[in-house]
Structure formats: structure tokens, C-alpha cells
């Protein structure tokens, strides 16, 4: 009989260790394997979370570690939730989230639909479309600032070509009305391929036989799309929206590189504002309360979203 990998591992285990392990139950051995991961999870995720919650009730400042820290109760939460500036950043985040998710879902699904149709150069175009996703957000932010330049920017010239306006008459990142759209365009450009890839996986998982059965029943293409394609791709699409929603709620690097939160605080998203409070104004306790509010919001939203996704999968 040939020796298996398990036999080889058993033979090479030192006798002392083998004797020790032989006395352990399967459950104990399972715990030995899982324990390092649980320990890391506790140290890296759970402990900082509990520490942040604790700090949110104090006036601790990280730049004054030796200063006396006093317990302020719910004062930090009260101040944040009555601050019109923070309310404004929440609105900027809502605008960014709503439009990026809408555009990414619509364009991503349309692209996946097109790519799924077999044509020459299919793989080449898939690679080309996926390229923006592979770039660093800092790089993307940097070169889009050049594309948005009123004097030399390609974007302005393309808009001018189609609309007949003067390319130097508007600046995407310097005008209050246009800056929120500038960040939406860049994020959509960068992350639509991600949604497209997930939708493509969904489209390719639909068995051809279902469409054939629909053809036999004389279902029109339109009906096939709404009763076969959309319901079967929906769980994938919802997963993509969950990932992008959480990511965009925390969006920081791309927007900082593009607009730095400006003009004024028009594009100052919550994560940028939070960073300013924590590491520029050094109000650590206040920033911790802010982080807790954002955490609870994302956690609550993700919970109901996962529940909805499971329901769709069960159908």
C-alpha cells in the first residue's frame, strides 16, 4: 500500500510530541489550530474597537499622552450630533455613495452584459476595462487632477468638444457645484470594472439550458432578461454593492489626492473629516466617538444588507 501525506507527517512527528497529541481530543486539537487566529483577531480587531469605545467617553488627546484624561460621558457624541459641519460631511458622503453606487451598478452590469457576448478580442477588452482597478488610488487621484486641469486637461477638452463651451471656462475640482461630481466620476471610472467582474461571474454561472427552455416556451429576449438574467445575477450584484458601499463609506485616499476635501469642505467626506479631527486637531476622544458613530452605521447597514442578500439567495 502506498504511503499517504498523512502517514508521512505522522512518521516525521517527534515521538514526544506524538505522545502528547495522542492524549488530546479532536476538539482540543481543533482549538490549538484556531487559537492563533482568534488571538490575532482579538488583538488587532476587537481590542482596538473596545479601546476606541472607551476613549469616546473621554477627552483624551493623543498628542498629550501624559495629560490627565477626564471622563466626559456622552458629551463627545452630543457635540458631534449637533455640529452642522459634520452634518454637511454626512451629506457629501451620502451624495458620493448614492451616485457612485448607482453609476457603478448600471455601467458595470451593462459592460458585463456586453463582455459576456462572445466576440473577437473579448479577453483583450476585458483586460483593458479592468486596468483602472489595478492602479493605486494615489496615482489615479494624481493623474485625474491633470485631466481636470482647465488649461491642459483632456477632460475639459472632451466636454468642450461635445458641448461647445470654452474648456477653460470651468474647473471640475475648483468649483463648488462640480467638485462633488468630479470625485463621483473618478471613483466610477476606477471601480466600475470591479462590479463588472462580479456581474460577469454571475452571468457566466447561468446555465445555457435555462435560456434554451425559455426559447422553447417562446419567451422574448426582454422577458428572458427580466425573469432569468436579473434574478440570477442579483445575489452577485448585491455582493458587489455591499463591497463598494462599505469601501465608499470609508473613501479617503482618492478624494484627498484629487480635491483634498475642497473647495471649502464641499468634498470633505466623513473619513477625511475624521482624520482631520484625530490627527490634525488631535481631539482623539472626540474622533473616537465619531468613529463609533460611523462604525455603528456601517455595521447596521451591512447587517440588514446581508440579511436581504441571504433572502435573495434562498429564492
Amino acid at each position: 500500500m502506498s504511503e499517504t501525506a498523512m502517514d508521512r507527517a505522522a512518521r516525521t512527528t517527534p515521538p514526544r510530541m506524538a505522545r502528547k497529541i495522542r492524549g488530546l481530543s479532536d476538539r482540543a486539537i481543533a482549538w490549538i489550530f484556531v487559537a492563533p487566529t482568534i488571538f490575532l483577531l482579538l488583538a488587532i480587531n476587537i481590542f482596538p474597537l473596545i479601546w476606541t469605545i472607551r476613549l469616546s467617553f473621554t477627552d483624551f488627546r493623543a498628542n498629550r499622552p501624559n495629560a490627565e484624561v477626564s471622563w466626559v460621558g456622552l458629551r463627545n457624541y452630543e457635540r458631534i450630533l449637533n455640529d452642522p459641519e459634520i452634518w454637511q460631511t454626512m451629506q457629501a458622503t451620502a451624495h458620493f455613495l448614492f451616485w457612485t453606487l448607482s453609476f457603478q451598478v448600471l455601467i458595470g452590469f451593462a459592460l458585463a452584459w456586453l463582455i459576456n457576448a462572445k466576440f473577437r478580442g473579448n479577453n483583450f477588452w476585458t483586460t483593458v476595462i479592468v486596468l483602472p482597478m489595478m492602479l493605486s488610488p494615489a496615482v489615479v487621484g494624481n493623474f485625474w487632477t491633470f485631466l481636470y486641469q482647465p488649461q491642459i486637461g483632456l477632460f475639459n477638452y472632451v466636454v468642450a468638444f461635445f458641448s461647445g463651451t470654452d474648456p477653460t471656462s470651468f474647473s471640475m475640482i475648483a468649483e463648488v457645484a462640480l467638485a462633488p461630481w468630479a470625485i463621483v466620476i473618478v471613483d466610477t471610472w476606477m471601480w466600475t470594472p470591479f462590479v463588472m467582474l462580479i456581474c460577469l461571474a454571475g452571468l457566466r454561472s447561468i446555465p445555457e439550458s435555462i435560456y434554451e427552455a425559455a426559447e422553447c416556451d417562446r419567451a422574448s429576449k426582454w422577458r428572458q432578461f427580466w425573469t432569468i438574467t436579473v434574478p440570477m445575477v442579483l445575489p452577485f450584484l448585491m455582493l458587489a454593492v455591499l463591497f463598494r458601499g462599505i469601501e465608499n463609506f470609508k473613501m479617503f485616499d482618492l478624494v484627498v489626492q484629487l480635491t483634498g476635501g475642497g473647495p471649502g469642505s464641499t468634498t470633505e467626506l466623513t473619513s477625511i473629516n475624521l482624520k482631520r479631527e484625530a490627527f490634525e486637531k488631535w481631539r482623539t476622544g472626540y474622533a473616537s466617538a465619531y468613529a463609533v458613530i460611523l462604525f455603528v452605521t456601517v455595521f447596521g447597514l451591512a447587517s440588514i444588507y446581508v440579511k436581504a442578500m441571504n433572502k435573495v439567495k434562498e429564492r
Binding site: 452642522p84 451629506q91 455603528v296 452605521t297 447587517s303
Partner: protein, 62 residues
């Protein structure tokens, strides 16, 4: 509707999760809406209540 209220009374997971989800959704809308500062101020309380409720009721029987 009667089924929903019966489920609430008999502590069933489905209707309670629905209630918690509605609370969370209202809280998030209150947090991000641009109209009333009062709603923004109370948004966290509503979201937190919904989230805690969701965590508790997800352990209820089906």
C-alpha cells in the same frame, strides 16, 4: 399584517428582524438627510437601537 403582529408577540425572528431593519434604515436616512438638523441629532440613537435590536433578535427562533 396580523401575522406580523402575531410574530412580534410570539417573539419570532422574522418580524423582529424586519422591525430592527426598519429602525436602522430610518436612522441612516436621518443621519444623511439634508433637511432637518433635529433628525441628524437623533439619528445615532435610532441606528444604535436598531443595530442592538438586530443583534438580539437574530438569536430568536424562526
Amino acid at each position: 399584517m396580523t401575522e406580523f403582529f402575531n410574530g412580534l408577540l410570539r417573539l419570532r425572528r422574522g418580524p423582529w428582524e424586519m422591525l430592527a431593519s426598519i429602525l436602522i434604515a430610518i436612522g441612516v436616512v436621518m443621519l444623511m438627510q439634508p433637511y432637518v438638523l433635529w433628525a441628524f441629532s437623533h439619528s445615532f440613537t435610532v441606528t444604535l437601537a436598531g443595530t442592538v435590536l438586530f443583534l438580539i433578535v437574530s438569536h430568536f427562533p424562526e
